[in-house]
């Protein structure tokens, strides 16, 4: 299931790079996901003010 590594030196980033989009999805998720939590916090602040 995990594609064989073709680049010269193995690395975690290369492993995450399984096919089109996999590495990007991981990185984008890391960036965007916590924004939901920020949204919830700010929403609560506005509703309480």
């Amino acid at each position: 299931m995990i594609e064989p590594f073709t680049d010269i030196v193995p690395s975690i980033w290369g492993t995450l790079n399984q096919g089109p989009l996999t590495l990007t999805i991981v990185l984008h998720t890391l960036i965007v996901l916590p924004m939901f939590w920020i949204y919830k916090q700010e929403k609560k602040k506005l509703e309480n003010s």
């Binding site: 010269i8 030196v9 690395s11 960036i31 920020i38 700010e42 509703e47």
Partner: protein, 218 residues
Amino acid sequence: MSNKSVWTSIPFWRRSAAWATGVASILLILLTFDTMGQISMGTDADLQKGITKRVPAPTVINYHIDYKMSEKRGHEVPVIGKKEPLFGKELSPKDAAAMLHLGKLTSQAKNCMNCHTLLGNGAYYAPDLTKAWLDPKWEQMIAMTGSKTKEEAMVKFLMNPQNYPTHERRMPNLKITEKEAKALVAFLKHMSSIDTNGFPRNFSKTVEQFKQGGTNAH
């Protein structure tokens, strides 16, 4: 009670901007650590044991370098072969490093990058130098410069390029000394051994074509 939406709240966007910037920066730093490890120069021991590094040791200039299609990688890759000393002399790791150092220093001091591209970066007035060491043109230049080897032709050309024009656009004389010219050749040979993920594409295909006596150009 506020009717304001989070979507127009400055604190929301400010915090999100701070978060995104912070995470992206940290990811970049982590990736940089990984990449630095992968593009540091290899050692002479790597070459002797046949361990492939993206940027080989300076002593790669003692070896034959080629550029061939790799089915596994899906593009052309440098191939380091048998011993092929530069200027007929096999250099120690220390001497090879010194030559590479002088070559790179000279390439900057003479401002090569403002006419040529190196690894595709630079100016677009003169050819890319990434695989200059492997360029089939040198066969012609050996005859034009009255040399016996490719490296001799390269040195002669670099020292007096104005004498060997190949096009109406000529390389100027940059007062390159013989020592600097030899070092530049070492630098170019080393650069051609760097794994550039297949750039320039089709280079090896046309080398074959050229050797068979022709190109598709009109």
